[in-house]
């Protein structure tokens, strides 16, 4: 962003709503649909104000019929509209994955590129606030694994606005995962690091490009969404111990920007990959595998930190123990450097 730009500090919720509002004003083909996104403004605040601004034709509360309204959105997209639909919690993908992964994701392929699907699916992810096993999942890898979908996860409000604008303008289905711990809704707690200076004007963050948030020489920390903040805090903690950590925010997991990760690890020779999705067949494993198959010589075995392969427990005494956090990342860094 240029220095001359007027910026304000925004939460991710407000940055998402601003991006939607600006794009709906700019492009009359954009509309928003989902449960409680109109009158209520979204359970997580990301559609606040849109109903008043654009009216009930373009801002539509839906029945609790995810398969129905997501399938409908695909049909709208094929007809040239640019629907942004909300799946309130990613945990609900089980009732509506078919139109997402078999229809939206394959429309281009099944038409030889003749029919596009410019649709954004916004969905909240993550736990840490005691919402238990059916309302705290992340499922990044579940979506990243399936071809034809682009998957983005902002870690801060600046990226949230730029990724949303890029997602709406993309001709392909984009899964936009926003983390409840970063959303900036007071009632969910707020990670201060997710609140960022956001330009009023229009800008895009390129989908498929990771960001190097901090240069370092001793170890590469790879995160996405909330785990980026765990990495930043852990890096601070070990900086005092003379450790120089390089920090990468993936921002997109499909397509995955392996090159940025490899470049960094070639330099540092050490890797800790962190996410809060389930461990096996997950994001941190894909990062570790990508580095391994590249044949980069490492000074220490790569380490992955993710949620263990168990349902997310309700009681805080268990949930906080199993969720990744800055302490766990710092401990891994020390292990890698021991």
């Amino acid at each position: 962003m240029t220095q001359t730009t007027a910026t304000r500090k925004l939460t991710i919720a407000k940055a998402m709503a601003e991006a939607l509002s600006q794009e709906m004003a700019r492009d009359s083909d954009v509309l928003v649909m989902g449960e409680d996104i109109a009158k209520l403004g979204g359970v997580f605040g990301n559609t606040a104000g849109l109903l008043d601004q654009f009216g009930a034709e373009r801002v539509r509360d839906t029945p609790i019929s995810e398969t129905g309204f997501i399938g409908t959105a695909v049909g709208m997209a094929a007809a040239g509209l640019r629907p942004v639909v909300e799946l309130m919690f990613v945990d609900f993908f089980g009732v509506c994955m078919d139109p997402i992964y078999n229809l939206a994701a394959k429309q281009s392929y099944f038409s030889g590129g003749k029919v596009s699907c410019p649709m954004v699916l916004m969905t909240s992810v993550g736990g840490g606030y005691g919402d238990a096993g059916q309302h705290s999942q992340c499922l990044y890898a579940t979506f990243g694994h399936l071809p034809g979908l682009k998957v983005v996860i902002p870690s801060n409000a600046y990226d949230a606005k730029g990724l949303m604008l890029a997602a709406i303008r993309d001709e392909n289905p984009v899964i936009y995962m926003y983390h409840k711990a970063l959303q900036g809704m007071g009632w969910l707690g707020t990670e201060p690091g997710s609140i960022a200076a956001v330009p009023k004007e229009d800008y895009e963050i390129p989908i498929g490009k990771a960001a190097v948030l901090q240069d370092g020489t001793d170890i590469t920390l790879v995160g996405l969404g909330v785990s980026v903040h765990h990495c930043l805090k852990a890096a601070k903690a070990v900086a005092g111990e003379g450790v120089s950590a390089e920090i990468i925010d993936l921002r997109t997991i499909a397509p995955l920007d392996r090159e940025t990760v490899l470049q960094s690890v070639r330099k540092t020779g050490r890797l800790v990959a962190v996410d809060d999705d389930y461990l096996s067949y997950g994001v941190s494993g894909e990062i570790v595998a990508s580095v391994a198959e590249a044949g980069i010589a490492l000074a220490a075995p790569p380490i992955r930190i993710s949620h263990p392969d168990i349902p997310i427990p309700f009681a805080p005494s268990m949930e906080h123990a199993v969720l990744p956090d800055a302490e766990k990342v710092a401990a891994a860094i020390r292990r890698a450097l021991a």
């Binding site: 209520l40 919402d131 009681a315």
Partner: protein, 330 residues
Amino acid sequence: TNQPQRLEMYANMVKSRAFEAAIKAAYLEGKQPLFNMAKGPIPGEMHLSDGQEPCAVGVCAHLRVDDAVTATHRPHHIAIAKGVDLKAMAAEIFGRTSGLAGGRGGHMHLLDPAVNFSCSGIIGEGLGPAVGAAMAAKLRGKDSIAVAFLGEGAANQGAFHESLNLAAVWRAPVVFVIEDNRYGISVSKADCTAVARNSDRAAAYGMPGIFVEHNDPDAVFEAAGEAVALARSGGGPTLIEIETMRLEGHFMGDAQAYRPKGEIDALMAKDPIPEYRNRLENEGVDTVELAALEAAARQQVNDAITYARADAEPAADDAYAHVFVERAPT
């Protein structure tokens, strides 16, 4: 209904309302002045059932311990009417070791096999399992049945259609009970449902549909009686819709700006519990007896909450237990 049953229905309504009041108070601890869901003795979402008690007690009054009930994300009143252990239930909601699941599930995941009760947090998720419980009884030649509770919003979910059709084709001994509290979070029934009465949808499955207009335990009891008798006698499923009321927000912390001004006050004036108490009084039930029932119900609630608060928090490693069942549970 016979009088003892009606007094039990009343007592269960009082117990449920008292339980919600106690949970509400505990839930708000540590969430003041700034409401933060993660804080306090009970974190996460909290969906209270105030106003919907008649649905639970009117239906469950017909059920036996071996009848199965599946409920929703708003389960407390139904769990209490079905006889779930109040202490273990409270301890689960507080996330303590002697909770129903040792604190792993929380308020949306209360499973008590001792009374064949379960609930879950995904809309429509309980319908199939109720059909399954009913079919298990049928295949084993038992006369136990199953009841699935759902909200009016859930009647637009695909699982509703698939489960009702399957239940009808297999003549499963199951009753589907829709608690129509007019809202799915902020979305009104009229804004998302193509018919005024979901009970009319029973015709799409060739099963009887009953609409209960009044949020009244006696009216619910009567309708449920027909449906339960039909199921128990091998006559297959029934769909019931009850016009009830949600006196609280969708969940704790819901500002409810989407509700018309004065709506809540108007509903409060029709609170089914005092209404039922008046009816019983007018019928000559001794007020001393009623007061005793109320006191006993409140006492049970207080004991359960006290028990839960005193119970130990799970150890970190408890999170890794029970991901799988190792042996057949006995």
